[in-house]
């Protein structure tokens, strides 16, 4: 195979519409970028260092590419990628707010990045202080007693929380008896998946006509075998569960615990707190509410905060104040054990702390108000153009639907999504929550201006008014047009080396 060239920019939308070769296609035998530090070490051969039977017969093919082509390649790839820094990203349930650049600088300090996780406490006082402070502000924000910062993402936080629930019940001799965890039909997919991994059965509770938990239906499902309930509040329709206090009482009555999916806290910052609502366990997605950038899918951080009675079960070791004014590690008496190789996604945690310190109580309150203001304004603005299944004051997001439009012009939620890309906006979340057909879950976030809200509204209204053909053709302006997801699954090509195989 003669190799592709790495100096032609036609895959950059700036000048062309070609595809970008892979680093493997850009490789040429014998080419290299790497250079290594001079160490003056003895130059023993592989054979002198490792018994022959363990040695590879031939080097692993990685890539053979010049630094110039490597830079060209990945730079062009970034030109083929949408991001918050390019434009609005109203992806419901994802809180794609602007990530302040000051947080990048705050965590770029070598005093944070070049610290070994197993270094003795005397050498990591700064890190311990940071983590202790972060735990404290997160508890104050959620109204909880203590927290673990180890979970690296929301789902990991959920599972951690469920294992805390399990530890609690086992501690009280009810481990075997408590088999079920209740989840609303509007719950995020990670909730049921985590419940299963937590060793529980999922019991689904329907939503009522107002889009909230159907309390009578919930009562029917409450029983001595219920370990607890997982709720999202505001729920995934963006609605506040007004009966939360009643729900909490009912669940506690049967000895169950309340788990709060706090992936999206944006709407309640400084307004209300899960702890005050009666929740026992709360996980947070610092990569949503607290502006840790999503990185194209991660890393995030999913700390779990708990009420006082659950604190003894938290994962350890935990950063803590020590006797003589410094900091150290502490493992709770009945800890469920580690949930991360080290101390969680430390640099992501530090980013979130920088964001919280920069905003402070006043700033976070402003965040909640503007997030809710944008969402509600847009909901009003879209009335008439789209169905709004639950058309009442929402929190940080709301759900629209193309169900009606689909009947009229055949316009599907996915068509709106693709067409919106042409208008210079990322698409909302589509087909979620599952209880709304043709759902468009829209979360503008607080960092988009009223002018951007107006432009987004106009784009969405224009699309709704179109015949539907444009949308079905869309996107027409992007580097690739609609991709064939079906064939990707049918003829699975998971690596550049793979020959297509029957994926499904």
């Amino acid at each position: 195979m003669t190799s592709a060239n790495g100096g032609q920019a036609r895959s950059a939308p700036l000048v062309g519409r070609d595809g970008e070769p892979t680093i493997f296609e850009l490789s040429s035998p014998g080419r290299r970028a790497a250079s290594f530090r001079s160490t003056a070490m003895p130059e023993w051969s592989a054979e002198e260092l490792v018994p022959a039977e363990y040695l590879q017969d031939e080097p692993v093919a990685v890539a053979e590419i010049s630094e110039r082509d490597l830079v060209g390649h990945f730079t062009r790839l970034t030109h083929r990628q949408y991001s918050v820094d390019l434009g609005a990203y109203p992806l419901g349930s994802c809180t794609m707010k602007y990530n302040p650049k000051l947080c990048d600088d705050a965590v770029a300090l070598t005093g944070l990045t070049d610290v070994h996780p197993a270094a003795p406490v005397a050498l990591i006082q700064g890190w311990l202080e940071l983590l202790v402070n972060l735990e404290e502000v997160l508890c104050r924000i959620t109204g909880m007693h203590a927290a673990t910062l180890q979970p690296p993402a929301g789902a990991a936080g959920e599972l951690t929380g469920l294992l805390l629930m399990r530890a609690w019940h086992e501690r009280h001799g009810e481990g075997a008896r408590r088999r079920r965890v209740i989840i609303p039909d509007s719950a995020h997919g990670t909730n049921p998946a985590s419940v299963t991994l937590g060793g529980y059965e999922v019991t689904q509770v329907p939503s009522d006509a107002r889009g909230c938990v159907d309390v009578p239906a919930l009562r029917e499902r409450l029983d001595g075998d219920v370990a607890g309930i997982m709720l999202t509040n505001p729920n995934t329709l963006g609605l506040f569960e007004e009966d939360i206090t009643e729900i909490a009482a009912a669940v506690h009555e049967v000895g169950g615990l309340l788990y709060y999916d706090g992936a999206n806290l944006n709407a309640i910052l400084g307004i209300t707190r899960p702890g005050d609502m009666g929740f026992d366990i709360v996980h947070m997605n610092l990569h949503k509410t607290f502006a840790v950038p999503h990185g194209g899918g991660g890393p995030g951080a999913g700390p779990v905060a708990v009420s006082e009675r659950l604190a003894p079960f938290l994962p350890g070791p935990r950063p803590a104040h020590d006797a003589n004014g410094g900091y150290g590690w502490e493992t709770p008496a009945e800890s469920i054990g580690r949930v991360h190789s080290w101390h969680g996604n430390a640099l992501a945690l530090a980013r979130a702390y920088a964001y919280i310190v920069a905003n402070g109580s006043d700033g976070l309150h402003r965040v909640a108000e503007a997030a809710v203001l944008n969402a509600n304004w847009l909901r009003h603005r879209l009335r008439g153009a789209y169905d709004i299944p639950y058309d009442r004051p929402s929190m940080h997001e709301f759900v629209a639907s193309t169900a009606g439009l689909r009947k009229r012009s055949g316009l599907r939620a996915s068509d709106v999504a693709k067409r919106l890309l042409e208008e210079g906006f990322h698409a909302p979340t589509v087909y979620f929550p599952l209880i709304v057909e043709e759902a468009l879950m829209i979360e503008p976030t607080e960092t988009e201006s009223p002018q951007t809200m107006e432009a987004l509204a106009e784009a969405l209204i224009t699309i709704a008014g179109e015949s539907g053909d444009e949308a079905r053709q869309a996107p027409r302006t992007t580097p690739v047009r609609r991709v064939d997801e079906a064939s990707a699954a049918r003829r699975l090509i998971p690596t550049w080396d793979a020959s297509p195989s029957a994926g499904s």
């Binding site: 890539a63 005093g111 294992l163 530890a167 007004e242 609502m277 203001l373 090509i493 998971p494």
Partner: protein, 443 residues
Amino acid sequence: MSDFVPHTESEVAAMLAFMGLSSVDELFAAVPGALRLAGGLDIESGLSEPDVLSRFGEMAAANRATGSDLVCFAGAGAYDHDIPAVVRRLAFRSEFVTAYTPYQAEVAQGVLQALFEYQTLVCRLSGLDVANASLYDGASACVEAINLAVAATGNAVVWVSQGVHPHWREVIRTFAAGTGHDIREVPLGPDGGTAWPSEGEAGCVLIQHPNYLGCIEDLVAASAVARRAGALLTVAADPVAAGILRPPATYGADVVVGEGQPFGTPLSFGGPFLGTFACRLEHVRRLPGRLVGETVDVDGRRAYVTTLRTREQDIRREKASSNVCTNQTLIAVAYAVHLAWVGTAGLRELALRCARGTRYARESVLAIDGVETMTSAPVVREFAVRLPVPTADVVDRMAEQGFLAGVPLGEEYGANGLLVAVTEKRTRDEVDAFAAALEKAVG
């Protein structure tokens, strides 16, 4: 305070007016008064950008970072390798950093292709067919591997080598409380390699290679054990050692996981790190997390997209292969950039340089009176020694001398054990100075 909310007062007023409201507070009517937080959050008010940065500067200064005045010989799953400048400059471009999971493939070809290349690299290092788009870290990759193996074999018994990182084993036990898997630890033999039981059945055999003590494991034996036990062989392999060692798949490994930190990620106080995960194609429907596949667009152009999504929790809900949603994509991109920069010949050279430094350091350290080896199996980047005095004290004394001497071994490995790592970054002078200082510290 820093303010990232663009709305001016008059703009807020206009938006409210449009909704027929007179105050933002009315938007929160649904929140019962009893639940409203009186007096706002009980935290400091906001700080300006320079004030935040000076506060972080103080915290950073309260740590002792590795570098010329704290030369790092600590490893144990977090290694001090050189990271080329291209990694920051490319992987951390804002399009990668501020994108979400690639739900809209048409405007996410950048992340998707980078992940596709990452998956290919992970497969090449392991020798297996398919890799996912990353997991949280080495520990979570082990947990997911166990879940896959148990589901595939229908046997919940899991044999975990004591050569697997103690933290990873702890995480495995933590999550087993939920899955109910029967985790059985298998001790190491005197040479430092795993001493497998001669009989019994299992669903999963998990081994680290090289293992926690730095020893190359006998994968021929491990593979035979797994076959006999009816288990899937899961190897937690080091990506740097892959530069000289035979790929685990050549021994019959069914799943190969790993900690990807050595490529692209600084020590970072332990995170974000990178869980790499590869398996045989036959297990692809049980693959945890995201998978990127190649396909075409409506015009027939090559394109990439996340695929086999029906495994995932947002569709499969409680029957999903895993609950992983957000992963470590950005760290995976950094891994791909760094590894591609290192390249084919470079990877071999890198592994060799680590092995040379490790041998040189090991010989220097074992020459010290009272310092004894703990293992006899070959090592490539790390080695374990037993000190004549308590390890923690030695590490403290060495820190005063400007060395992060290594990671103290837990009691399970006996008293006074120290794990010493030597990467390509360590020079002969540094190792000589280290050995001299250690001689004093243990004397």
